[in-house]
Subunit: 238 residues, 2 copies
DNA sequence: ACCTGAACACCGTTCAAGT
DNA sequence: ACCTGAACACCGTTCAAGT
């Protein structure tokens, strides 16, 4: 059943159409889009035999590269010509908003072994913002490493709080929280501190956007201080 | 061929032995240990039918959880009772050295949907260091989010520089570098800046340990400043 | 020359049959 | 009761056969 989906997709296959359908399929699978995605499922979605895809992409890896480039290409270029710090901040926040619309993308980008053209173009642009703002090539280089995947909007959290949290029953949650508090008292204390201004219970009750901006500003403020101090990689870091 | 490996592995199966063999198999597969690892390959390595594993682990997910706990359990507990900043620094650097010995581990940890017991115990210990150092529960909470996966030694780089870089021939590398410099001039400039004190060409020529410590110190210094300033999440961040 | 069905070499896991 | 072989429902990709 459901062999033929949308009739509009009966147009002749092309690399464009394959890539668009691939992104749409991954988007539709939500947070587990990276795992749920397969060549065979994509072919089925396009109403096509699996082998037909190989006329337009060399293999799955190349298709994933193409999907990454589509997503990274969505990131808005900076409009304001503000100081480097707000420009980079705004750039990274819009990268984050793109990643939030394609929840599979971070995992797929991480699986690539090297940068794709769109990623290189994006990094080139961010580097340009730092350099035009007066940062030395030396400092900019280390700063790009320090920001790392956060440049593309990665939260870099240890576990995905915004994901498919099972949301257990209040009774179960209470018992689990009590067990957790006994075994990991420091974790429990921190979780309680987080729950102060949030309504949710232990765990998923954090404001992802606040945590992202907190970490980003911590880094940008630090970078600004190094820049004003005339830091170089040969000078003592403290 | 090579049906029976090491004779010592003929001992009766146990959860312990399964987990140890799983870690050893992933280690042996190098950087691609996460992808190369499979239940069937592990069973073969143990000289056992695949189904035999399911007597000791519920499924592959639970086995991966167990592998993560083994690796995280290897992280050395802090010995010195120094100030919180050097204690956390030392703790994170030893987490990093463990991750460098198990190149598959970061990818597997990221694939887990929630923290395992050993990870919780580790986080509990780091939180304790911050709290004993005088940081508020509020600040500690946000700081733990900001450090994120770096707490476990993740480099958080966009692409793995230490991995299987193809190391192209000098001629190819030169041509590629010229093309890259034309398309992405800012990237090329930064790469050249990095190559100053390094012998390698564009790309993999960065000192991973330096970049890791640079980013870590950027964060720890920023945290220290917020702490001394009496920062709270309700106060203005700038 | 182009397209595609069957096939190959995998995978995690279920389940019934054998001991 | 325990163990395990065959089987199921996948996967990416090769390749030869059909048009």
């Amino acid at each position: 059943m459901a062999e033929e989906r949308r009739g509009a997709e009966r147009a002749p296959l092309s690399r464009e159409r394959v890539l668009h359908a691939a992104v749409a399929l991954a988007d539709a699978s939500g947070a587990s889009g990276a795992e749920a995605f397969s060549m065979r499922r994509l072919a089925q979605e396009l109403g096509v035999v699996p082998m037909a895809l190989y006329k337009h992409v060399a293999n799955k890896e190349e298709l994933l590269d193409g999907m990454v480039d589509m997503v990274v290409g969505e990131i808005a270029r900076p409009t304001t010509s503000a100081d480097w710090k707000s420009a980079v901040r705004q750039q990274i926040l819009s990268a984050r908003s793109v990643l939030l619309h394609h929840r599979w993308a971070a995992r797929v980008i991480e699986s690539r072994t090297g940068p794709t053209p769109a990623v290189l173009a994006y990094l080139d642009s961010v580097i340009g913002t730092f350099r035009d703002g007066g940062l030395s090539a030396d400092l900019t280089h280390h700063v790009m490493h320090a920001l790392g995947s956060r440049l593309l909007g990665f939260s870099q959290e240890l576990f995905d709080t915004g994901g498919a949290a099972p949301t257990p029953s209040p009774a179960t949650a209470g018992a689990a929280a009590a067990d957790l508090a006994r075994a990991y008292p420091r974790v429990a204390e921190i979780a309680a501190a987080a729950a102060h201004d949030m309504d949710s219970a232990v765990g998923g009750g954090c404001d992802d956007q606040f945590e992202f901006e907190f970490a980003l500003d911590l880094l940008l403020d630090g970078i600004e201080r190094l820049h004003h101090r005339g830091w170089t990689s040969t000078s003592p870091s403290t």
